[in-house]
């Protein structure tokens, strides 16, 4: 996926070239070259771990500026469910939605509402015959991308339904076109308020592929500061929220899975845990499960790096928001429809393709020669995995050397030994 858009970028000015992100990156996508970090876009999965760990704030999650909204005549906000957990003492979602309208949006379509619809269709999907089980959630784009890079056999397990953000965008646009026949599609700006850079990357890539209905993606933290002052809560807001407990629960790990009303599920969060579970599914060593929800961020989407609040505080706030909500406010969506059907428009248009990220060479003989050369170099390295050479491990460094991206002299431990040898040599000479 050479043309996959990434939304994790580096600010070279701020990067000190330390090894924090290097060691943290779950796909070994980072190298330190010429004193600063470089991200290999073929390996990056936009998980945001490097943003979390960077002590110098040199890694940035890129999103659209809020000002981009002005390009559109009719502006629709799609708040992610996790946005509800960002505000202090928010006991009613409508205060937040009113805040978005007061800020200048013409309409709000809650992604949480779309999530309830996706939950409904997921329950139906799981009943279809011949599915590869467990079905893996398609909601976290980091997970889908990780599967594309490393788990070719799990591609068929990924649920082919559109994630809630796509469904929200689709329904919002259709609804606006119907309600305002004077609007052309390009007049409508659908703006997702994102908790994470992975959603930004996913939506931009979808848009480039001619799919998807999201025109602009702003970060939750940008919108937070723009609307927190608008939310005065002086008067009771107009009730516009169409979300129940299910939709709100999608914001945190386990929310999507528990909405299936089926106890044969697993929910894991945090990128390392996600990788472990994928390994287990791949090895066939998971107990019989119907559904697996995987969220790359700890805590689920509330843990996204574009949020403002501590994920656990956000999760606690969601509990109090949920308290007086009905289970779902979207049962009526399914009433008139065939009981076990999932309409075509709710299936993803794109599909995941296997793109191994760590292939040594296109030709297998060449790959074998390279692998042998890597081993020979690796055996001569100190195995400290110190990262000083700019690679996360000695093994990765050996691979970089064979790929022609690094030279052996960059190993400071070997260099030190060499200098000591030289010094000893000189000492002997002087005798």
């Amino acid at each position: 996926m050479g043309n996959y858009n990434h939304s994790v970028l580096l600010d070279i000015e701020k990067c000190k070239g330390c090894t924090n992100c290097l060691k943290r990156c779950p796909t070994e996508a980072i190298r330190i070259r010429d004193g600063h970090a470089q991200i290999n876009s073929n390996r990056c999965i936009d998980c945001g771990e490097c943003i979390r760990i960077c002590p110098y704030k040199a890694k940035k999650a890129v999103s659209d500026k809020i000002e981009r909204l002005q390009e559109f005549k009719y502006k629709i906000a799609l708040p992610a469910p996790s946005l509800y957990g960002q505000f202090d003492n928010l006991d009613d979602i409508d205060y937040l939605l009113q805040g978005l309208l007061d800020y200048g949006f013409d309409e709000v379509f809650e992604v949480a509402r779309a999530a309830e619809i996706v939950s409904g269709y997921t329950r139906r999907y799981l009943k279809m015959p011949g599915l590869a089980k467990p079905v893996i959630s398609s909601a976290c784009p980091v997970v889908s991308r990780l599967i594309a890079l490393r788990y070719p056999f799990l591609i068929d397990n990924v649920m082919p339904l559109k994630p809630p953000v796509d469904v929200a965008a689709q329904l919002a646009r259709e609804g606006a076109m119907k309600a305002h026949p004077e609007l052309k599609s390009e007049d409508i700006g659908v703006c997702f308020i994102s908790p994470c850079p992975a959603k930004v990357s996913y939506l931009k890539s979808e848009k480039e592929a001619g799919r998807g209905n999201v025109d602009c993606i702003v970060s939750a933290s940008d919108i937070y500061f723009a609307i927190v002052n608008k939310m005065e809560r002086k008067q009771v807001p107009i009730p516009v929220s169409k979300t129940g407990m299910i939709g709100v629960s999608w914001a945190a790990s386990g929310g999507e899975a528990s909405a299936l009303f089926n106890d044969r599920y697993l929910a894991a969060d945090g990128i390392e845990n996600v990788i472990k579970v994928l390994d287990n599914i791949d090895n066939g060593t998971l107990p019989n499960l119907e559904f697996v929800e995987l969220d790359a961020c700890t805590g689920g989407c509330v843990g996204g790096v574009m949020n403002v609040a501590n994920p656990f505080i956000a999760k606690a706030r969601l509990q109090s928001i949920r308290r007086y909500l009905p289970v779902s406010q979207n049962w009526d969506f399914f009433n008139s429809k065939d009981d076990d059907m999932v309409p075509d428009s709710f299936f993803s248009e794109g599909s995941i393709e296997y793109e191994p990220d760590d292939s040594l060479a296109g030709d297998m003989n060449e790959a074998f020669r390279k692998r042998a050369a890597i081993q020979e170099i690796a055996d001569s390295l100190p195995q400290l995995d110190c990262g000083s050479c700019g690679a996360p491990t000695c093994m990765a460094f050996a691979e970089d050397i064979v790929r022609g991206e690094a030279t052996e002299e960059e190993c400071i431990v070997k260099m030190r030994d060499k200098i000591q040898q030289l010094l000893r040599g000189e000492h002997n000479d002087s005798k």
């Binding site: 070719p152 090895n283 060593t285 292939s359 297998m364 003989n365 790959a367």
Partner: protein, 141 residues
Amino acid sequence: MPEPLKFTYDINGENFASAGEASMQIKKELRSLGFDPQTIRRVSIAMYEGEINMVIHAGGGVAEVLVSPDSIEIILTDHGPGIPDIDLAMQEGYSTAPDTIRSIGFGAGMGLPNMKKYTDEMVIESHVQKGTRVFMRFDVK
């Protein structure tokens, strides 16, 4: 044809949680060498089952993997109790795993049959009280 690559993994019998690591490692190797997903899957599942067997029954052992472009060979060697009746052990559902192992979802008696299923050749040599050696060959199609 390039020289075969040899990978050796120690299977730690003390730590049940680490079982499966060699399978992960070999999977990564095969991926980077450009093997097709089907071959990678066969090898990694057979390796995983073999690892689990060595941890459950034999207190660990050594896995040697010889990788060539047209075939992959795995030799699993342990110094465990040995298998008195190999034909019986090969039957689906036959297991000598203790209840403690079964209680965590292993010991279903599918390990050896599964390994056989995914290999093109499998040879088991075993001597009671001395140990077991399992040879597996996977032809790359």
